[in-house]
């Protein structure tokens, strides 16, 4: 798969329309890499000129900040801002709501001011501008329930874009008991992804998976690599035959990309 870096592009004197911020999960985690690839396929198919930072990208600092390590967070943020500003980046799209939130809301005060899009928002724009067509009917009539990532939903009030994309697939969108501003976390946020859960009587991802399964879905749609991992684990635990797919994967799949 050919993916240009900003370094390569700028050495050719070119500037991409948008920078694709991949995030650590999207770069290193096997499940999340599939989401990254699906999104790249859509970008290519829509003829979007984009570039990635490659080795110049570093953790956004979100897990450090939510753990309480403001120092490490600012080190990461300032490093990244330095890289992004070197290339005069103006527009960024990312498939990770945590990176999205941090870049969009927490970088400006530190000198990093960009138009930051979550990929669901970006895809919606492509759809509106006609650059992206969703015509495949693979998911027509399929029951899809959508899990709101906390850092896209409550944290940034974006509930619509992912749902509109699912509806574009002519799928049957189902809402869980807790959804939108009342959504229940998958259990990964606040750096929980990187630690064992505290003592309790259940894991959060199991509770959320149960809520998802209560809608009797064919597919659980997610819009965050961490939610995806959590829900996939939950499904495995419940030994159910339901797939967990990212919005980007759904669209790439529908269009046979």
């Amino acid at each position: 798969m050919k993916v240009p870096t900003l370094l390569e592009m700028s050495s050719r004197g070119e500037k991409p329309e948008v920078v694709f911020w991949i995030g650590c999960a999207g770069s290193f985690d096997d499940r999340s890499k599939k989401i990254t690839k699906a999104f790249v396929k859509i970008l290519n198919n829509s003829n979007i000129s984009f570039a990635v930072l490659g080795a110049e990208e570093s953790c956004s600092g979100d897990p450090a900040k939510r753990s309480g390590n403001e120092f490490l967070f600012q080190i990461q943020a300032l490093k990244n801002i330095n890289s992004l500003n070197n290339y005069n980046v103006t527009d960024i799209v990312t498939t990770c709501p945590h990176c999205f939130n941090t870049l969009k809301n927490e970088y400006p005060e530190l000198g990093g001011k960009y138009n930051v899009f979550h990929h669901s928002q970006f895809l919606k724009r492509l759809l509106l501008s006609g650059k992206l067509k969703v015509e495949g009917e693979k998911f027509k009539g399929k029951k899809i329930t959508y899990h709101d990532p906390c850092y896209l939903g409550r944290a940034n009030n974006e509930y619509k874009a992912p749902r509109e994309l699912i509806e574009k697939l002519k799928a049957n969108l189902l809402e869980m008991k807790n959804s939108k501003s009342n959504g229940l976390c998958c259990g990964a946020g606040g750096a929980q992804m990187f630690k064992e859960p505290e003592k309790g009587n259940k894991d959060i991802n199991i509770l959320r998976t149960e809520q998802a399964l209560d809608t009797k879905p064919d597919i659980i749609a997610a819009a965050c690599p961490f939610c995806n991992i959590m829900m996939t684990d939950g499904i495995k635990n419940k030994e159910k035959d339901v797939s967990v797919m990212d919005i980007a994967e759904l669209i790439a799949n529908a269009e046979d990309l």
Partner: protein, 439 residues
């Protein structure tokens, strides 16, 4: 004319206000122990927010039954306060229903509507009590709701019940005295509800009736004075603090956490980015919060405003899965500790003398703090825009930046970020490996 009752009333009135002002002053003092935070921007938006959320109770609709009952009690109490004004004036001057003279027919309708409201409040209070004690709605029976918080919640309902009942009894006997042209009891007011209580008293001797009416009148107003001074010790303080609480709420989008600008220059210098000419950089002498002094005053005000309704904890993913964390408890602990610190300072004549306790560990444990997913569900659910998450985050900051007491896994994650720029032990140079993998 015997002026003894008037003097007595004035004395009680002054006493009640003296204690009330004293309580407010204590409240102000304690809240001022918090650090400064600038919330003076955006005045229009803040006023609007306060009108919507505190006055209009826009967030109570999320639970419709509780929302409607709450609105009735709230409106009831506010409107019946107009009557309270008259009672106070009557008490000082020794008059009977003094407003009637000035308001004519309108007065009758006002009193009539107060009575209907009083009945609705009574019914709502019974419903509230039943929800807590018969239906045993889960959020009212969590571990942090034992002892005083439970008693407090019930006491408030008893207060309201008795005050409203006395109001109706007072009106009922008053109207009987009016019917009998008892001296000093001018004809004034419609009594649609308390008329129904008249059969209880018709057979009474008129002088005895007079004593009854006076007793109800005195008990009613004294109970209100007591209730006024009870507020400070109760979750009921929210009827006052909900207003400043929503006015000074954090207006930023929920995902945006505070950035500590005090360390930015130091980090920049460390990274060799620029020679900072800003020498005024005040690196704080303590990061994060381990006690109430380290929190800002809005967080402290939040703790006094908390209604202990538990909406936050009932949507908290950690609490729902049996973890110790309860955002309501975070707020209750903060208030309890602040009270403790406040009386310590009072006892020691204006100076805090260490009691070898702090908010961290003595009240809020690390286990609670590390259970939070920072999902913002609690913040979203709170009907008066309290932010328990900000306290959790400040305390985590203290644990990590001052004590290096993060769970081992998180320490590993952070050293991975430090060394490789990713939370996992992967080499940063390998960020593009995925482009070379098939599938």
């Amino acid at each position: 004319m015997d002026i003894l009752p008037n003097l007595l009333f004035s004395f009680i009135l002054i006493l009640a206000f003296y204690f009330f002002v004293n309580n407010i002053y204590k409240l102000y003092k304690n809240i001022s122990l918090g650090k400064s935070v600038n919330r003076s921007d955006n005045r229009k938006k803040r006023i609007l927010n306060m009108l919507c959320v505190a006055f209009g109770q826009s967030k109570m609709g999320a639970k419709p039954i509780a929302g409607i009952l709450h609105i009735i009690v709230y409106v009831g109490f506010i409107i019946i306060n107009i009557e309270l004004l008259e009672i106070v004036v009557d008490g000082i001057l020794g008059t009977h229903r003094i407003f009637a003279d000035y308001m004519g027919e309108l007065y009758n309708y006002l009193i009539g509507s107060f009575e209907i409201l009083a009945l609705l409040v009574l019914i709502s209070v019974i419903f509230f009590w039943a929800r807590r004690n018969i239906l045993k709605i889960e959020r009212f029976w969590k571990p942090e709701m034992k002892n005083w918080p439970k008693k407090d919640a019930d006491l408030i309902l008893y207060f309201e019940f008795i005050i409203m009942t006395l109001f109706l009894l007072m009106n009922s006997t008053d109207s009987l005295l009016q019917d009998n042209n008892y001296e000093g009891y001018v004809k004034a007011g419609f009594f649609p509800i308390s008329d129904l209580l008249k059969p209880l008293f018709v057979s009474f001797d008129i002088n005895y009736l007079f004593i009854l009416e006076r007793s109800f009148w005195w008990m009613h107003i004294i109970l209100i004075f007591i209730f006024l001074n009870y507020l400070y010790y109760s979750k009921h303080l929210h009827i006052l603090l909900a207003f400043p609480n929503t006015y000074y709420a954090n207006l930023n989008i929920k995902g945006m956490f505070d950035i500590d600008k005090n360390i930015t220059n130091e980090v920049k210098l460390m990274l060799g980015f620029e020679n900072s000419n800003d020498q005024n950089d005040q690196v704080p002498d303590k990061f994060g919060a381990s006690d109430v002094f380290d929190l800002n005053w809005v967080q402290l005000m939040n703790s006094y405003s908390c209604t202990e309704c538990g909406r936050c904890s009932s949507v908290c993913p950690a609490n729902l899965t049996g973890k110790k964390l309860s955002p309501r408890k975070i707020m209750m602990d903060t208030r309890d500790r602040l009270e403790e610190v406040g009386s310590n300072i009072f006892k020691n004549k204006g100076k805090f003398v260490s009691d070898n306790k702090q908010l961290l560990n003595n009240y809020i444990t690390k286990e609670e703090l590390w259970a939070c997913t920072s999902c913002n569900a609690c913040v979203e659910a709170c009907p008066i825009e309290i932010d328990p998450l900000s306290i959790i985050m400040d305390m985590r900051k203290y644990l990590v930046m001052e004590k290096s007491e993060a769970p081992v896994d998180l320490n590993n994650m952070m050293s991975n970020i430090e060394n490789n720029g990713a939370p996992w032990p992967f080499n940063n140079q390998d960020r593009m490996l995925w482009t070379k993998e098939n599938n």
